[in-house]
């Protein structure tokens, strides 16, 4: 089943006309309602009345994560706050967090694209879905919730965590669709086996997994562990949350809902359009959002895109799984982690900045593990183990507070952290994605 068949299977001429129509309305709307964007557009020499077609998008300036932070909280909003119905906040580095806000229509849009996601994955009205994404300021839980509501699924809103309870609920209510991060799916399968439950014996049909990068081999593992079809969902809170793109049963690229989220693939070095099929940074314009519409938002996710029609009938462009990041941000258990956050904590504790390295690994139990190596310095070395352990514990607690992710802190000898041209390598990602 295709949720919005008329749009999702539209021919390219029709789609282009629709996108052009949206863009023609969007730019003047933003220009007249958002002073920050007005300045940006003026600086780029864009006359909003001269935007006639989606092709004109290339003349528009980019929007970056920094723009969102610099203009925190409301600078990039085009709608007044009394029209905002819901806000979501994601953690920042050392500065401001990222705030997004949805008008009533934006929430409707979110429900619509998430219904498309669930349908694209293979859900049918009447199915039961267990939503084990976190509910709260994180967009995962509520995004799935709105989509499932729109589609008419029976929702079990377990949120993330409390694994034993999740498993009991699965057994009692026999959901056919599971939504959670891929690492949590594998973790739950392991836990199930420990508890003597055979995860392959459920009523599973489909899993819709996202919020962190994952690999084809992980997909095979999840499919075998749960006896279900494992599909990938893509999204980011700046654009809408989950609901930007989704794999169909052919698992051959993620369908971007390009009538509302217009994708471009650019070379992050030159900012020019990347040749078709080549890897580049995904840039998205929200064509119909009202609360905080974004023009050419730099996602920093590296993907490639294809434009031919899919076997499922959808004509929308398809993006690959995320192949990397343009900056050194890493995603751990669905949470963005920046080296600068850890640097900040260490500076706060030690006064100056010791050498450190973040090692991310996905061990036997499938959950991402973060280890922070900190080089011991003369200044804070003590002959007493107790003092060193206290220091380690303090660093661990403070990092954990900032990241909302559990970390292990290991004190290492000076000069043991790998350096390239004098600069320490800050992140070692050992996960096989």
């Amino acid at each position: 089943m295709i949720w919005k068949e008329d749009i999702e299977c539209m021919d390219s001429t029709g789609l282009k006309a629709l996108q052009s129509d949206y863009l023609k309305k969007l730019i003047p709307y933003i220009y007249h309602n958002c002073p920050v964007y007005r300045q940006k557009l003026d600086a780029a020499g864009v006359n909003p009345d001269r935007i006639k077609s989606i092709d004109d998008i290339k003349r528009l300036p980019f929007t970056t994560k920094e723009d969102m932070r610099d203009h925190y909280p409301y600078g990039l909003f085009s709608a007044p706050q009394d029209r905002i119905n819901e806000i979501h906040v994601s953690s920042g580095t050392t500065g401001n967090p990222t705030l997004v806000g949805y008008t009533k229509d934006d929430l409707k849009l979110w429900g619509d694209v998430m219904a498309r996601v669930l349908c694209c994955a293979g859900a049918e009205p009447g199915d039961t879905i267990q939503i084990a994404y976190g509910y709260g300021l994180f967009t995962g839980g509520l995004g799935f919730h709105y989509g499932a509501l729109e589609m008419g699924l029976r929702i079990i809103p377990t949120s993330a965590g409390q694994t034993a309870r999740q498993l009991k609920i699965m057994q009692d209510f026999q959901p056919r669709i599971l939504g959670c991060t891929p690492s949590y799916a594998l973790y739950m399968a392991e836990e199930a086996k420990e508890m003597g439950i055979d995860p392959t014996q459920g009523h599973w049909k489909i899993g819709v997994f996202g919020a962190e990068p994952w690999s084809e081999s992980m997909r095979r593992e999840i499919e075998a562990a749960w006896n279900m079809l494992a599909t990938d969902v893509y999204g980011l809170s700046e654009i809408i949350g989950p609901g930007v793109a989704q794999e169909c049963r052919h698992k051959d690229g993620l369908h971007v809902f390009s009538d509302v989220f217009f994708p471009e693939i650019i070379d992050p070095q030159t900012d020019e359009e990347a040749p078709e099929g080549q890897d580049g940074e995904l840039v998205i314009t929200t064509l119909t959002k009202q609360g905080i519409p974004l023009i050419r938002y730099r996602t920093r996710d590296i993907v490639s895109a294809r434009y031919e029609k899919c076997r499922c009938g959808r004509t929308s462009p398809r993006i690959s799984k995320i192949k990397g990041r343009t900056d050194d941000m890493i995603v751990v258990r669905g949470i963005n982690v920046f080296p600068s956050q850890i640097e900040h904590v260490l500076v706060g504790i030690e006064g100056t900045q010791p050498q450190y390295q973040i090692v991310v690994d996905r061990k036997a139990h499938h959950l991402d593990e973060v280890e922070v190596l900190v080089e011991v310095e003369q200044r804070f070395f003590s002959d007493e183990i107790r003092h060193l352990n206290d220091l380690r514990e303090r660093i661990r607690k403070e990092i954990q507070n900032v990241l909302s992710v559990g970390v292990k802190v290991t004190l290492v000898e000076p000069k043991t952290i790998e350096r390239s041209v004098g600069k320490a390598k800050r992140i070692v990602d050992k996960r096989t994605l």
């Binding site: 011991v376 310095e377 003369q378 070395f381 003590s382 002959d383 007493e384 183990i385 060193l388 352990n389 290991t410 004190l411 290492v412 000898e413 000076p414 000069k415 043991t416």
Partner: protein
Amino acid sequence: MKITQISVFLENRKGRLYDVCSLLGANHVNIRALTIAETESFGVLRIVVDKCDAAVKLLRDNGFVANFTDVVAVEVPDTPGGLATVLKIFADNDVNVEYMYGFVEKHSDKALLVFRFEDTDTAQQVLARHSISIVTRQEIEGL
């Protein structure tokens, strides 16, 4: 009189203790007493040597984190109850020992005990009051 212990940070990695010892050996630094306190990922090597200033410089120059720590070395008879006698004095006088380690000397009937106190000065006064002989820096250097 206080003597100086050298504390060295060591990761739990193969060969690290050897690296320290061979470095000191090659530079004619003699280790008088040694102990290692360990955790699952790192350890602290504590040593008393004959040339402590030179040893610390050497270690630091070779990339080790090494600090001086004030400790008190006491000689007790190498007989049953020798250590207990000293510990009783500390207990009776409310002197808190952070850690200690022992060391048997050649060519003598004495055992060398190295103490790290919470309050080194008070501990020394207590020892003096009870006529417990404290090993001097000169003695350590010339042992």
